[in-house]
């Protein structure tokens, strides 16, 4: 997803000069992993936090200098800080808006359609979210964000060794998860028949899944 490094470097250089196409290319490349990272962190409304993150990015983008790797590190550092801010704000204001989990609710209700709609990504993200905080952050930053271990260590304020340990343990834990074991013996993920046999997000116990809420139509 973030593999076209040269193109991203060009896009970054263009974006720093105010080029919209360059910025859009950056945004399209980084927004999906950004949202997934924020979901792993358990953000109530990852789109909001992502917007806050991009807001800070666009404010300072003209002063940014560096490669796309530097940008990636910068972006996810900001995102983590904004997620922490959001969590603090949430704790100060316990009443959270309703319907933030509707996407997940829809997931649990129509698994075949989820896969048709590409929502298996949310299942995968939800699986990572079941890990301990240290392991989840290490996996998310290393795998989803695509940062190298020293950068992850810098963001988390840990040693590279500690990050490697957390990453290794996290992946081992995931490997032992029934959903992953089921996928190991099933047809390729993304096929409706395969996905139908997989646990849903709620069944996986993702904290963001929450209790079942009626869909918009059902409450009418």
């Amino acid at each position: 997803m973030l593999s076209d490094i040269g193109a991203l470097d060009d896009a970054l250089a263009a974006a720093t000069t105010g080029n919209e196409a360059g910025f859009l290319q950056l945004w399209r490349a980084f927004q999906p992993p950004l949202l997934r990272f924020l979901r792993v962190l358990g953000c109530d409304d990852p789109e909001d936090v992502a917007s806050e993150t991009w807001l800070q990015v666009v404010r300072d983008l003209r002063r940014f200098s560096g490669s796309q790797e530097d940008f990636r590190r910068w972006l996810f550092t900001i995102a983590r800080h904004r997620a922490i801010d959001a969590a603090r704000a949430r704790s100060r204001r316990p009443a959270s808006p309703v319907a933030l989990s509707l996407d997940f609710v829809a997931d649990s209700q129509q698994v075949e359609d989820q896969v048709l709609d590409g929502l298996s990504v949310q299942q995968a993200v939800a699986l990572v979210g079941t890990l301990s905080k240290d392991q989840a952050e290490a996996v998310a930053l290393r795998v989803i964000a695509g940062l190298d271990t020293p950068d992850v260590a810098k963001i988390l304020g840990k040693s590279s060794g500690a990050v490697r340990v957390a990453l290794h343990r996290g992946l081992k834990t995931l490997a032992g998860h029934p959903a992953v074991l089921a996928m190991a013996g099933s047809p390729a993920l993304g096929h409706p028949a395969a996905a139908a046999a997989q646990p849903t997000v709620q069944a996986l116990g993702h904290p963001a899944a929450g209790p079942a809420l009626p869909t918009l139509e059902e409450v009418d």
């Binding site: 997803m1 919209e20 910025f23 859009l24 945004w27 399209r28 927004q31 999906p32 992993p33 789109e47 909001d48 992502a50 917007s51 806050e52 993150t53 991009w54 807001l55 666009v58 404010r59 003209r62 808006p97 309703v98 319907a99 509707l102 829809a106 359609d113 048709l116 709609d117 590409g118 929502l119 298996s120 990504v121 949310q122 995968a124 699986l127 990572v128 290393r142 795998v143 989803i144 695509g146 271990t149 490697r164 990453l167 290794h168 992946l171 995931l174 490997a175 032992g176 959903a179 992953v180 074991l181 089921a182 996928m183 190991a184 013996g185 390729a188 993920l189 918009l216 139509e217 009418d220």
Partner: protein, 390 residues
């Protein structure tokens, strides 16, 4: 996921001493998991693209170099993409003559009422216009020759200094909130009453009245008033329109004009983005009561159909609202009553997307309501009839 992408991921992890052998029989499952985590955009993940682009465009706009630039920051400190380039304040003043001939002649002859004579002295003393004659003050204290002597009451509550627009959104610790408006200013029903020549000299009074107390956010706010002294119109006096933006300390001058021969003045702030209070302050110190102008943000609602016919997206886009503001998605029932179905908060781009199934919702009318805050009034989008996906 392709084996190639799994190899890419594993290749990346190899630097951490992680390889396929670490996962035993779960290797293929881990491979699929990692491949999915690093796969391309899923539907909905790029839904905010237009909002992001709008954010980029606004943040990239060159900053205004006008003094009002700082005021814009004060108004929308949390929304860089809404910083507006404020044009110089438009002064909607019918006549801008500073002093009419008759007035000048009368001032020269010291034939004007004392308060007016003093004002004339302040403006024209270099030309030989005398000050008002000292005389006992009808209300006692506070008057005397040479110090606003003819004003019957102590000066109106003053802003301690004319605060300059500041580029900083942070409140200045040393600046106090604005004092209350002048206690001797008496509101009048009309913004443009005619002067009464027979009125006896009396206290200076400045009135203020907003042309509209609810305006679309970003549009002009006009405030008109009349300066009188003992009921007599006072022409040729510079009057400032002062603005106090909600959530910001102090009052800021956003425009000036000169009173006409009828003592009237009208000043316009061409672009108001946040609810604010205004008052008019004459150069002599007479200050009007404040008037409040509430801005109403715009809310637009659009629908985007998903590819699978399962999930469709209603996006509410706002201008001049703020991240964290609450929006309600309402559906009109068969009785015509709007019923709230979902409640969400605006994201950092001032937008929010609701998920629905257009197939099931077809034929229903929906709208979005932006709840009022201290910074803006309540706003409602135009109703949208949900059509089935094509």
């Amino acid at each position: 996921m392709t084996s190639e992408s799994f190899e890419d991921v594993l290749g990346m992890l190899r630097a951490d001493g992680i390889g396929p052998g670490d996962f035993g029989s779960a290797g293929p499952g881990i491979a699929r998991l990692l491949g999915t985590l690093t796969s391309g955009p899923a539907p909905g993940e790029l839904a905010d693209e237009q909002s992001a682009l709008a954010m980029f465009r606004s943040a990239d706009a060159p900053a205004a170099s006008t003094p009002a630039d700082g005021l814009a920051s004060r108004r929308r400190s949390g929304r860089a993409w809404h910083l507006r380039v404020l044009r110089p304040v438009h002064v909607a003043l019918a006549g801008t003559a500073v002093v009419v001939g008759g007035f000048a002649a009368a001032a020269y002859a010291a034939a004007l009422p004392a308060p007016v004579q003093h004002i004339a002295y302040q403006a024209l003393h270099d030309l030989g216009v005398p000050d008002a004659s000292p005389r006992p003050h009808q209300h006692g204290a506070g008057s005397g020759p040479g110090r606003h002597g003819s004003r019957p009451t102590p000066g109106p509550s003053r802003v301690s200094s004319h605060p300059k627009p500041s580029a900083s959104a942070r409140p200045s610790p040393g600046r106090k909130a604005s004092p209350s408006p002048s206690s001797h200013a008496s509101p009048q029903p009309s913004a443009h009453p005619s002067a009464s020549p027979s009125s006896s000299p009396g206290p200076l009074a400045m009135t203020a009245q907003a042309a509209a107390t609810r305006i679309p956010a970003g549009s002009a706010a006009s405030v008109a008033g009349v300066l009188t002294a003992g009921g007599t119109a006072v022409p040729g006096i510079t009057v400032s329109l002062m603005e106090h933006v909600v959530g910001q300390p102090g009052w800021v001058v956003v425009g000036t004009a000169t009173t006409t021969s009828t003592g009237s003045v009208a000043i316009t702030d061409p672009s108001l983005g946040t609810t604010a209070r205004f008052r008019l302050k004459a150069s002599d110190g007479a200050t009007s009561p404040s008037v409040r102008v509430v801005v109403v943000p715009s809310v637009t609602l659009s629908i985007r159909y998903g590819t699978a016919g399962i999930k469709d997206y209603l996006t509410a886009t706002t201008a001049y609202a703020d991240p964290g503001d609450i929006v309600l998605l309402q559906v009109q029932n068969s009785s015509g009553v709007w019923v709230t179905r979902q409640t969400k908060v605006l994201n950092g781009a001032g937008a929010k997307t609701f998920v629905l199934n257009a197939q099931l919702m077809q034929g229903k009318t929906v709208r979005v309501v932006l709840l009022a805050t201290t910074l803006h009034g309540r706003a409602v989008s135009a109703p949208l009839l949900v059509q089935p996906p094509a």
